[in-house]
Amino acid sequence: MNAHTEAALRKQDDPLWVNPEIVLPLLEGFIRDEITKVGISNVVLNLSGGIDSAVSCVLAARAMPPENVTALMLPYKTSHPDSLGDAQTLARQLGIRSMTISVTEQVDPYFEKFPDMTPLRKANKMARERMTILYDQASALDALPLGTSNKTELLLGYGTIYGDMASALNPIGDLYKTQVWQIARHLGVPEEIVSKKPTADLWPGQTDESELGFTYEKADRLLYHMIDRRRSRAELERLGFEPAFIQELENRVKRSQFKRRLPLIAKVSMRTIESDFRYPRDWGR
């Protein structure tokens, strides 16, 4: 049993523990309600073989008739073959529709034009290609694109703006990664998916935690006290968090704020979108 499995089995006295009896009806209701009130009955999502999209997918298949859920598998030639296999297994188990479309032919010609592209640029480009497929298929299937970004990566900015961060609805965006693990366990997501090391599969051998330089569990603990509980720097230090780590996460959250907001609009008129033209997203729904 690795650290992530243990995290998924966490006890109820842990501050990060969430009650599945409360969370599941809330999230399933969210998916059902926000989709059907737009007059749509289908949902589509990118299923990577990782834990986040697996949990979003299971929630969707519980909220909607499984035949109304479509999973897209969009591998690149260097993607780990297990990712695709695990995604396909899950889709079969859930009885949802699925489609595999390689993005290799789509991105390689572009990569060839810019041979000096860094792995990060390539990763972002691929994430955005996958987004265009997600939105196109949503249109073809008369479906809403479902998001798969968890609260940890949204807060740390560990995602591609207008790439994997793009969706119409995100059922797991208010759950930290460790909470996603816990819920995944509860939902019976296959062990291969729950226990694999989290990776964006950006390049062979990549893992999130080695790239970030800390574990999700460590980050989640600090983020929970910092964001959810609004604890001061002094309180966080008293809880045993290292000052350098507090600073690092604080910087990450601040630096990535742009990813969580619409683009800035230069104000000219008396009524400007966002600043003084404010309507709910569900306007007219």
């Binding site: 523990w17 809330l26 969210f30 404010r278 709910p280 997203r281």
Partner: protein, 283 residues
């Protein structure tokens, strides 16, 4: 005197008064079928909650055709309902009307508009300035709207004003999933409702909505609490439901004999001390 109340735990359509009128009128039909004497709807039942800049386009004057229709319906049963009220001087209130025998008997304008965290009601609404109980067919009533209930002074004033039946309308969002018991919001509200019912020996009718707006789920759990703090009836969470409960002024009488808290309340001391505190604050 015994009477039957209904609480319509509905999911209003956001910003669609026409549609909500239809839904409310269907609930009134249901209430009549179930022979209820009073039906209570949630906060902003005629409009939905997350209105933002829609507020002026969904507001109703007290002489609007929509309220007239509900007044007409109140010939057959009493109705408490939340809506956006537009005053003659063009202010917009988060209000609730109590309709009885074809008339508007009372309007409460929400006093405490939450403006913190996920709420920004102060931007969109004008605040009310009164807490008053009023005489209705089924005894002396008071209305509070959501955040008003989080200020014990509001419930205190209404209780001192003779309230026997406190009607609390809300749009309470589902928040907090880390308890191994109930949702944080449910736990908090159930505590408030029971405390106010018990301490003021009055009925509390809590009407909360369900449905989702902009990702926020409203948890329902509407309830009727007896004047001894006991749960008379409680609705399910997250589902539309028409909840009914049989109430009786006899129960209020018995509770006030058992614990004469209101009889013994020293309003004079409270007033004197509050004035002293107020004088000190001004300096």
């Amino acid at each position: 005197m015994g009477f039957k109340v209904g609480i319509a735990q509905i999911a209003p359509a956001l910003g669609d008064v026409h549609e909500n009128m239809k839904r409310i009128e269907r609930c009134i039909e249901r209430a009549l079928d179930e022979k209820t004497d009073l039906v209570v709807f949630p906060e902003l039942a005629l409009t939905g909650y997350t209105l933002k800049d829609m507020v002026p386009s969904v507001s109703l004057r007290l002489d609007s055709p929509e309220l007239k229709r509900l007044m007409d319906a109140s010939e057959r049963l009493s109705i408490a309902v939340g809506f956006v009220e537009e005053s003659p001087d063009y202010r917009f209130f988060n209000s609730a009307a109590y309709l009885e025998k074809g008339k508007i008997l009372h309007v409460h304008r929400k006093v405490y508009l939450p403006n913190y965290g996920m709420f920004e009601e102060n931007r969109d609404f004008a605040a009310g300035s009164r807490f008053r109980a009023f005489n209705a067919e089924f005894g002396r009533c008071g209305i509070l709207i959501c955040e008003d209930m989080w200020h014990p002074s509001a419930a205190y004033v209404i209780a001192q004003d003779g309230c026997e039946l406190l009607i609390a309308l809300s749009c309470s969002p589902a928040r907090g999933a880390q308890s191994d018991g109930d949702l944080y919001s449910a736990d908090a509200w159930q505590t408030l409702n029971r405390v106010y019912a018990h301490l003021y020996s009055q009925y509390v009718l809590y009407a909360n909505r369900v449905g989702y707006e902009d990702g926020v789920g409203y948890w329902g759990g509407s309830e009727a609490i007896g004047p001894d703090g006991s749960v008379v009836a409680r609705a399910k969470q997250f589902e539309e439901q028409f909840l009914t409960a049989e109430l009786s002024s006899d129960a209020v009488r018995r509770a006030r004999i058992a614990s004469p808290l209101l009889r013994d309340e020293r309003l004079d001391i409270t007033l004197r001390e509050l004035k002293r505190i107020d004088r000190k604050r001004e300096k």
